[in-house]
Symmetry: none
Subunit: 203 residues, 4 copies
Amino acid sequence: MEVGRLPPDPLRRNPHSYAAILDATVDLLANVGYNRLTIERVASQAGVGKATVYRWWPSKARLVLEAVAERYEFEPMVQSGDLRTEVRELVRHAIEFMVKTPFGHALPQLAADLADDPDARSLLIKWLGPSRAAHLAVLYGAAGRADLPHDVDADLVLDVIAGTVLYRNMLGHEIDERLVDQLTSLIVDRDLPRSKATDGRLV
Amino acid sequence: MEVGRLPPDPLRRNPHSYAAILDATVDLLANVGYNRLTIERVASQAGVGKATVYRWWPSKARLVLEAVAERYEFEPMVQSGDLRTEVRELVRHAIEFMVKTPFGHALPQLAADLADDPDARSLLIKWLGPSRAAHLAVLYGAAGRADLPHDVDADLVLDVIAGTVLYRNMLGHEIDERLVDQLTSLIVDRDLPRSKATDGRLV
Amino acid sequence: MEVGRLPPDPLRRNPHSYAAILDATVDLLANVGYNRLTIERVASQAGVGKATVYRWWPSKARLVLEAVAERYEFEPMVQSGDLRTEVRELVRHAIEFMVKTPFGHALPQLAADLADDPDARSLLIKWLGPSRAAHLAVLYGAAGRADLPHDVDADLVLDVIAGTVLYRNMLGHEIDERLVDQLTSLIVDRDLPRSKATDGRLV
Amino acid sequence: MEVGRLPPDPLRRNPHSYAAILDATVDLLANVGYNRLTIERVASQAGVGKATVYRWWPSKARLVLEAVAERYEFEPMVQSGDLRTEVRELVRHAIEFMVKTPFGHALPQLAADLADDPDARSLLIKWLGPSRAAHLAVLYGAAGRADLPHDVDADLVLDVIAGTVLYRNMLGHEIDERLVDQLTSLIVDRDLPRSKATDGRLV
DNA sequence: ACTTAACCGAGACGGTACGTCGAGTCTTTCT
DNA sequence: AGAAAGACTCGACGTACCGTCTCGGTTAAGT
């Protein structure tokens, strides 16, 4: 009564091949990027038959997702007890991830490819969940200390940070220390971002 | 003073072909999406030789970019004089664009493809610029009325709005009226977003 | 005194699997033909592991050969004592086999695959031998009765019959009653084949 | 109002590619045989994209057929006026073709692959037709001289010769000078083939 | 009766080839 | 000269089988 040819018994999976495939995927992601990463190259670089990749992953997006989920280590988030320091860390983490790692660069295309893959959500959670949870914990901790409103929408706060960084990165804008200051100030001081000078930007 | 095969004399361009190609591009973008839009399909649907497309556009990203720049009409932004109303409009516009139009959906992939195309920036400006300028004008107008700090970083405010919407849309999260309220409140009231209930979300 | 992995102890062979494999082979031969018969399909249809097939047969050609050797029943050849009747029977048998059975259709491809398999000869003999012997017996019987020359090359006579039928069948030419008459007449009456009308054929 | 994607306009075919593909096909046929000849190898050896092969030929069988049709030169058949000499030549030609050339060896498999390709007949005629016609002419010439019955079925005579040779070759039997004698004698003297000694053969 | 070796099903594995699609370039033909 | 048409090389797609292999689970023989 099965449908849809889901991955077969993972117990019978060859761990060497599995590791080699994820390694190759991460390596290619870093070196050639998501667009130029192909199943064929992954298989060949992993010393593995194409069919072995297709046996376990239905698409490039799923493969990349699992590879980063297994391989990418988010930096640990420390709760210092000082809100400003903590929020600065949150912003820095977002920048670190979105701007500095191949994983962050792949995120938009990954998300696009996964858009019509309903089961992918759970994998995204598996990947981003722990880091997200740690970040939420920081904000809820601050709320507990009354450094933030007790009913703060921590999810949205994080989305504002991540989204702003992602958006600027996507459009190729510079992402510098000032952005960290401004976003931190927005959250901590509820101060709207100020311009140093009048440097209006188009786009 | 030559650079690698730039479009030839645009005066000699066949306007029928040009229009048909842009039409086909927009149509395919809406109907099959950016990923499944191919030059081949564009050419065939436009009743045009592939070479004609390649003669005028160096890549699919550039073609799509020009197509939306020529074809997509941003809603006009009205300055009502009431800050809250205006900011709500800004957020609504962002949502309308990112969530409801094929152009918004294509944006992340477009940006990824354009990442290593330095000349693309001017086209992006050509496309997004006017709308962006109108949005900036609203904020600077508010600053002039002292409804916002005189030195507000209007660029960042817009990026926060657009980025948050984009990020949520990219990850498939729901985007509803409450988000409009929360973002508006963040800008206008400098109030951090609140949760209705404790509805923590993973990812 | 070892040779490369010959079939293991046949006594331990599972008779159920053995029968199921041969059944599946014959069935697929009849239903999809030699070319589309694959070891994988045989194994799956027989409810057997691929390795079981490979354990006992080194190649598809050998498998098919054994399957038909075990399963195909040649019609018995009766010696009527009347040469003409007997030769007609020989021709009919050849036609029956080459044209009407899946085994006959497989013969050319089988032979091609077996070409560089020196041990296959004995299996071919095992299969075709009894029928061949019966056919030879008929001719030698006729020679004994002096209906044919005492030193007739019965082998060649049979090859002429089989070859002619095979050749016409291979090229898709019609094989009808007249061919039976003509070949019979060639052998019995030593009369060259005559045309009903001038119906020259190309190829 | 077209169906079935037949080869496109042959006038636009690149003659270099065309020649290279046929060359590679003939070469591989001679060096590795029909079974191990693959479209992929043909394309690669011809320095051509696979799609180019598939654009012009729907199958390996058709490709091989056209290659031999274009490349294989049948020996010319001379009409000496002496029936025995002529028939010996016919037999020799059949042997030469079936036994000595890669084309003859490929014939059975080619025929099998072409079996369910109704349009292939015309190509087979294109290939074998001229030679066949020359052979028929010899027999009809002999009939005209009354060396053979005026209404001899020349087609069948040729099929007997070709078929016998093909059959023996297929089964790996030796094909020697004696076979030439015997078949010649069968046609010319209407003498049944005789054995040198009693050398009955199985299969 | 108990070990032990072989067979067995199942199916993953590294490969080769399939036949298709699209990218981006080039040539031919028409206007 | 620009444009349609589409052939070209190339690379990747996702699938089918090849023949080998490893995994547990019988099954039968030999102690």
